[in-house]
Structures are given as C-alpha cells and as structure tokens.
C-alpha cells in the first residue's frame, strides 16, 4: 500500500499544503490565504491537498508543519523551521542549489545550502520589513493594483525610478511623490522591484552567493522580481513552477523520511 506524507507551510500571507507519495512524487497541493486563524487555514490547505491527491486524510502517515504559524498546526506530528524546509525543498527541485533566496510576506532569507540540502548558514532581515514582500504589498495598495499585476506591468519599464527609502512605510510617500511627478506606473514599479533586489543582494552577500541560486517563496511568482534579482545578482536564478510551495515540499520530504523511520 502506498504511504503518504504531508507538509504544511503556514506563512504570514498564505498557507500551503503538499502531499507526497512514497515514490517522492507530489500528488496533491493546497493553497489558501492565512487570514487571522492559522489553525483553520492550515486545516483547509491540508484538506485541499488531500482532495487533490484523491486520498483520505487518514492515509497521511506523517505531517510536518513549517512557517511562522507552524506551532498552530495542531494536527501536525512535528514542526521544522521554514529555513530548514526551504533548503530541503529547493535542493529537491534543483539538486545543485547552493544558495536559496526566499522572499516572503514579511521576511527575506538568504540560506547557504550544503550538498545534501542541509542548511550551512542563513541570514534574515531583522525587525524591519524593508525589502520583503510587504514592500510590494504597500505598492499595490497605493497604486490600486492587485499583487499579481505588479510583475507584468513592471516588465514594461523603460526608465525605472530610484526608490531611495529603506523603509517600507516611507516608500509609500516616495511612490506618491513620483505619481505627482507623473512618472509612468511601470517605471515606479520596476523601481520598487530594484530597491528590493538591492537589499536582497546585501543580505545574500552575508551568506555568500554561490551557484546555483534558487528563488523561493510567494514573491518568486512575480516575473518583474525575477528580472530585477537576476540583474542585481549578475547570475541566473532557478525559479520553479512550484516555488511558492517549496517550504511545504521540504516539510513533506521531512515527513516522508520520518514516516519511513517510524514504519
């Protein structure tokens, strides 16, 4: 009988669920907005993934919770930080990954990865959301756009503006000032993306930027961000279709390993 294991990544913005079978295949996915109740969101993400896999929740032998809300995942068997899970997940999808850059809703992480997918070193932004996904959230709000529109529009930029502020809150003032100067929307947006990329580079340099570099987290779906990062890093970037699930994938791999040990 096939054995299943689950990984649930309760992030600050979205909660992701992944089901693996014992052949290390992804058989189910779930994605929901986290909202105010992390426990419920985790359950919904898990249920969606289970439905996608066409199995019963009882078929899942082991569940690992990760992300900021990991201790709220009450049905999980154990918890592992998203740092360890992102390294594991990125290594699973791109086995030559040596550096992971994860831009999430409220933090940006740089992770140096060993040859087995283990965390060799990591850095995170401290006590300030500048240069994180939140930065884009602010831009979307001010410009009355949806988050999904930001990337495609920014790619049309010809002359990106300079966003000099290092503060997410003050960046809003800067955007308003550029709007008042009648700067083009795409140029303002690419300016925002470049500002995040510049901060990400300095963060990543602290752990060392070794090839291959894999971009994970929700912001990696943003094509404008991928371009801005590639330019700033001056090296190619692995981006997977599964990139926003990578934390959950890492968690599911740990779950599978532990289920195997338990069996």
């Amino acid at each position: 009988m096939t054995m299943y294991a689950a990984g649930v990544d309760a992030g600050s913005t979205q909660t992701k669920g992944i089901i693996f079978d014992d052949q290390m295949r992804i058989v189910g996915r779930g994605l929901v907005d986290t909202g105010a109740n992390t426990t419920k969101a985790s359950e919904r993400a898990f249920q969606a993934a289970v439905r996608g896999a066409g199995i019963d929740p009882g078929d899942v032998k082991y569940t690992v919770g990760t992300g900021y809300g990991r201790y709220k995942i009450t049905f999980g068997d154990t918890q592992i930080t998203e740092i360890t899970c992102h390294a594991k997940g990125a290594h699973f999808i791109f086995p030559k990954t040596r550096t992971v850059v994860d831009i999430g809703g409220q933090d940006t992480k740089g992770i140096r990865v060993g040859q087995d997918g283990e965390v060799a070193d990591f850095v995170m932004n401290d006590k300030c959301a500048a240069g994180t996904g939140r930065f884009l959230g602010v831009a979307a709000q001010v410009l009355e756009l949806s988050l999904d529109d930001l990337g495609p529009i920014s790619l049309k930029a010809q002359r990106p503006v300079d966003i000099s502020s290092t503060c997410t809150v003050f960046a809003e003032t800067e955007i308003l000032s550029y709007l008042a100067q009648k700067k083009k929307l795409e140029d303002i947006l690419m300016g925002m993306h470049k500002a995040i990329a510049a901060r990400t580079v300095s963060l990543l340099q602290r752990v060392g930027m070794n090839e291959e570099l894999t971009f994970t987290g929700g912001v990696s779906r943003n094509a404008g961000m991928v371009v801005a990062l590639q330019e700033a890093f001056e090296m190619p970037l692995n981006v997977s279709e599964e990139s926003q699930y990578i934390g959950a994938i890492g968690a599911a791999i740990f779950a599978l390993e532990r289920a195997a040990v338990a069996a």
Partner: protein, 448 residues
C-alpha cells in the same frame, strides 16, 4: 524547592547551580546594604565593573556598580520604565541602554528594584569603555559629585604602522598609570579622611589573586562533558557575584563555594542540561531582559554554552593567569589595567581577552576557543545599543563561516526589552539547531 527552581528543572531536566542563586543574594545584599553604609558615614563611590575596586576598598568606600545596577533592573524586567523616563528626558533609543536605564534611575529618585541607592560622593571614570566618559559626565551633572578619570593608553601591535619599541613605551605607559593611581589615592584620602594603608592594599590584591586563580579554574571546568554549568545562564550569575565583591574575603569564599559545587557536579556527572548534545560559545553580553529565556531555548534542544570571552573581559582581566606582584603592588595594578584591553596589548596572552573586530588574531582566537572547549558552533549576540561591542561581528561571521564554523547571529539588547522579538529569536535558534542536527546526521552517515 522554590517555584522558580522547579520551573528551571522542568525546562532543563537538570539540577540548577545553587551558586547562581547565591550570586543573586550577594548582588541583592550589595544594593540593600548601600543606604545603611551611607548612614554609617561611609563614602559612596560609583565605580564601573572594570574600575579599581581593590584600591578604592582601602578607603572604606561603599562601591556601587552602574552597569550591574542597570543589568539588575533588566533582569528583574523593570528596566523599560526607567529607559522610557530617560527617553522622555531627551535621550535617544540608540544610547547604551545601561546608561538610559541608569539615567531613568536618577530621575526616579534612585529607587532601584533592589533598594534605595544612595547618591555618589565620587565617580571613577576610566577609558576601558568609550561610553564611560559620557556616562560619568551625566552622573556628575545629576549628582554634582567629583569625577576622577583614569586614562589607560592602548597600544597596537608592533608593525610597520607602529614601529616603536614596545617595551619602552609600555614602561612609560605604566609610569603614567601609576602616577594617576597616586593622584587617586590622594583624592580618596582627602575625601574619606582615611590614610592609604599599603598593607591593606596588598591584602586586597592578595584576595584578588586568590579570586583570579579560582576563576581561572572555574571557567576551565566547562571543558568537561557534560559541562557542569552553562556559561551564559550560570556564568553571568557567577560574574555578578564576583564583580560586586572584588578584592574581598567574601569574594574568595564565594568563588571557593562555586568551585566546590562544580567539582561535585562533575563527580556526579550533573550537567547544565539533562542530555548535552551540543556545546556552543556565546559572544558578547547576554540579553538581560530575557536572561533565562534565550539560553533555555537552546537548552530545550540539548545545547549549552561552554564559554564566553566575557569571562575575562567582564572581569577586567585581573582574573587571568597573570597574578598581581605583591612586592610592587601599584605597578602591578597599573599593568593589569594596561593589559586589559581586548587582546590589543602585545604583552597579553590572546586567549584571555579577545576582541570582536574581525582581525586575523580574532579569527584565530575564535578557532582556538572552538578547539579548547570542543564546541559545535558560535552564537554572536549583537547588542542594539552597543555597536562598539558588535561592530566586528559581520566580518567575523564571514571569516569563521568560511572555516566551516556554524554561526548564529542574534540581535537584541543588554537592557532594553523592546529590541527582543521572541518569535524571531526562537525561529533563528530553532533553524540553527536544526542545521546542527542535520550536520551531525550527515557527518555520521559519511563516517559509516
């Protein structure tokens, strides 16, 4: 068993050090008895932990240590209202939080959580920490008391940038410090009406030597596996107990008791944690507002701290292998001051006092400590309100990481609880511990 002790056992699964609790009593008494000393006619001297306690004690002065005072406010979770009082008064949140907590104390009529602290009759400034200059000015402004400054020149290593004769300049520096000490003696005689007794000074230095020898033995005991005490949770307690009683018989008795307890723990195999799985080095001072919480996050995963260079730095380097020469006490005392500064003095053995500037010597010293204490990794604790302390961490992290040393950077503060975010700190600690676990796993697998 007290409620607190029971909680401690529950977290660690190990028996806590009784001498850490004893340190609390010693510090509490040091504050509690201050006002009585004032009423008994003794002069009150504010002197930093790096100051010349053994000399000042020759004049029956009662010593108050401003850093210990602020650290105690923080450890008792009472520092924030004091810090905010100083900020309302105009101090920036970037100022050393030991200073702002202390200023808040003055603005609160010197009502400290451990007792009413008497105002100073004398303040000693010295040049071992940059902040002391301004801090003593502040104390002077508040209390209108005299300030005596001791200047210790700092020499760099001899190289093309410093081509002078090290021995010759060292002797000159020493005479310079001795002269200042003689001036301090004259000031103290004038203030207290007590004549300097060289025999009493010699006796205080003898106590100092005994404490130094004991302390060197104590801090080497963490080389045992399991370590009998945690360098952060217990170690900083011992330092507080010791620093409030430098150069006294009580200080010697305390360290003897610490040593006896640790010897017993070693014989019984009692560790700082129930099952010691990882041994770590702690760089910098602790986060006093969450003094127990942070080490316990490590303890929960079987990690314990086995060394911190503060064992030497926070005790003014009097506690090191070199003893005071009782035949020439003042000169020897001056040498101890000159030799202190962060391993920058070429005459000093590096492992006893090291810096965090990221230079080649610092990197080698960290690697030596890793070997000496058989450590698995290093935790750098960057202090938000003390950049002097944490300025070199980024460079050190990079260099040591290249040498394969697992490193965790944490940021909080010595006294300001607003710079501690539990969720962030916990996340980083857990990720670091998971990294160590994985490392161990893959190494074991590779060995098979």
């Amino acid at each position: 068993m007290s409620e607190q002790t029971a909680a401690q056992v529950a977290v660690n699964g190990a028996q806590p050090s009784a001498m850490r609790a004893k340190a609390k009593t010693l510090v509490k008494n040091a504050f509690g008895e201050a006002w009585k000393a004032k009423e008994a006619g003794r002069k009150i001297c504010y002197c930093f932990v790096l100051g010349p306690a053994e000399l000042l004690r020759c004049f029956d002065m009662y010593l108050i240590y401003p850093e210990i005072s602020s650290a105690q406010m923080a450890a008792k979770k009472t520092s924030l209202p004091y810090i905010q009082k100083a900020e309302d008064y105009g101090y920036s949140a970037d100022t050393c939080s030991y200073v702002t907590a202390d200023v808040g104390l003055y603005l609160s009529g010197n009502q400290h959580p451990l007792g009413h602290v008497p105002p100073p009759d004398l303040v000693i400034n010295d040049t071992l920490c940059n902040t002391y200059y301004k801090w003593t000015e502040v104390i002077h402004d508040f209390w209108k008391c005299p300030v005596f400054s001791i200047d210790h020149p700092v020499r760099l290593k001899r190289d093309e940038k410093y081509p002078y004769d090290i021995e010759e300049t060292y002797q000159q520096d020493k005479q310079y410090v001795v002269k200042q000490l003689l001036e301090l003696i004259a000031e103290c005689e004038k203030l207290t009406g007590i004549k300097f007794d060289p025999e009493r000074f010699r006796k205080n230095l003898e106590f100092g030597n005994q404490m130094s020898a004991l302390w060197c033995e104590i801090i080497d005991k963490t080389r045992n596996a399991p370590t009998p005490f945690d360098a952060v949770l217990d170690g900083y307690g011992y330092i507080a107990g010791m620093n409030t009683h430098k150069g006294t018989a009580e200080g010697v008795a305390y360290l003897e008791a610490v040593k006896t307890e640790l010897d017993q723990r070693i014989v019984k195999g009692t560790g700082a944690v129930a099952e010691e799985r990882f041994r770590l080095l702690w760089m910098s001072a602790p986060c006093y507002p969450y003094f127990r919480k942070i080490p316990e996050m490590f303890h929960q995963r079987g990690a314990t701290f086995v060394y911190t260079p503060q064992f030497m730095q926070g005790t003014r380097g009097t506690y090191r292998s070199k003893m005071y020469d009782l035949e020439r006490p003042l000169e020897s005392y001056a040498e101890s001051m000159l030799d202190y500064f962060h391993g920058r003095n070429p005459r000093q053995a590096p492992q006893w006092s090291m810096g965090w500037w990221g230079g080649k010597d610092d990197i080698r010293n960290h690697l030596d400590l890793m070997r000496r204490f058989n450590a698995d990794g290093i935790v750098f604790h960057a202090i938000k309100s003390c950049r002097l302390n944490s300025g070199g961490f980024a460079d050190l992290r990079e260099h040591l990481s290249r040498e394969g040393v697992p490193i965790l950077m944490l940021e909080s503060d010595i006294a300001d609880p607003r710079f501690f975010s539990e969720a962030q700190v916990k996340n980083r600690i857990e990720a670091f511990m998971e990294g160590l676990e994985e490392r161990k796993y893959y190494r074991a697998r590779a060995a098979v």
